[in-house]
Symmetry: C2
Subunit: 204 residues, 2 copies
């Protein structure tokens, strides 16, 4: 059965796993695709199709077994297994906010380094991980075995920095800038620009 799971399906499953975790905590043991539809807006057809892509039966006549389905999603998509090492590049207001974000604690992602071209900032800022000058980026990424980067630099330098990250072998970049990053396919990009998001909303 085991088939490649499409990107839209993966995105939903990732979010579904988190929803199931909530259900689990609140003591819910079983959930039907119809209930998930009510809670998320995704149709029950789509949810059943997504789940069937996992290739493991997680349901009986009362619906899905909450913790089994959660576990199956996390295993199949390798979520929450191994620790994945990340860095933050650009420690302006946004980078600083991300450095203090508590939501990483509950995930398998660990921030192990921060970079900024302004040495003053790397020396002044307090963070639960070491900060370096951007000039040391290649070296630190290699030594620390960093796989993912969160890019929060000014738009004007986003392209060149992302290229350097790609050359270092970074596997994925979360791009907070509006810059269009076109990189070798060894480096994936997820765009999280607030302006793009607002424009998508407004011309809907």
């Amino acid at each position: 059965m085991e088939q490649k799971i499409s990107k839209p399906a993966r995105e939903r499953l990732i979010r579904l796993a988190r929803l199931l975790e909530q259900f689990e905590k609140s003591g819910k043991t079983t959930v039907s695709s119809a209930e998930i539809q009510n809670r998320t807006g995704w149709t029950s057809f789509t949810i059943r199709r997504d789940v069937s892509m996992l290739g493991v039966r997680c349901a009986n006549t009362t619906g899905y077994n909450v913790s089994l389905l959660k576990k199956t999603i996390r295993n199949t998509l390798s979520l929450g297994k191994a620790e994945k090492r990340c860095c933050i590049v650009g420690l302006g207001r946004l980078g600083e906010a991300l450095a203090g974000f508590s939501g990483f604690a509950n995930s398998s992602f660990v921030i192990v380094a921060g970079f900024d071209s302004n040495v003053n900032r790397t020396e002044t800022l307090r963070a639960p991980f070491p900060l370096y000058s951007t000039s040391k980026m290649e070296q630190v990424i290699a030594n620390e075995k960093i796989e993912y980067a969160i890019l929060a630099v000014p738009e004007t330098v986003a392209e060149q920095i992302s290229l350097r990250l790609s050359v270092c072998g970074i596997r994925g970049i979360v791009n907070y800038t509006t810059a269009i990053l076109h990189l070798p396919e060894t480096t994936a990009v997820e765009n999280l620009s607030v302006i793009d998001a607002l424009q998508n909303l407004s011309c809907k």
Copy 2:
């Protein structure tokens, strides 16, 4: 010709408009779909199809006219026309960073209010727009004719706050939390959770 433009096409056109602006500033007057492909990774077929959806011819034998194409995209998608009024809900580290973000200046989005349930924070924080207790949200949104909200509250309250925003008639929410927001279709949602983004990258 005038046809509904698909969501993927809209997303690309929004970003393309920004790229064209860069080109315009650098003095480039003409660009071919092949060049755009090199710069963005989208295929030239897709770009030509996207542009043809605009229903206006923006090209001649040397390629697209940069400023004409930019203008056409912005007009068709109503980008950058009227000022669109936004608020930030949740003034923790991330909300604060967004409040100070300079990138809004160059866009048609204006932040006109901030909300937080912690009165201490709304009184202490400095921002270029007024801050209010979340209890005044409904009232301020109506008075100020706010259409879009940027949601940066703790995960636990994201759902209920988003529902209140929807009831107020907010047209779109940029959701920085990992919460799954399911709202009436009068309120669109764009999800920008960093954890989701990282997980999407890692199980690619």
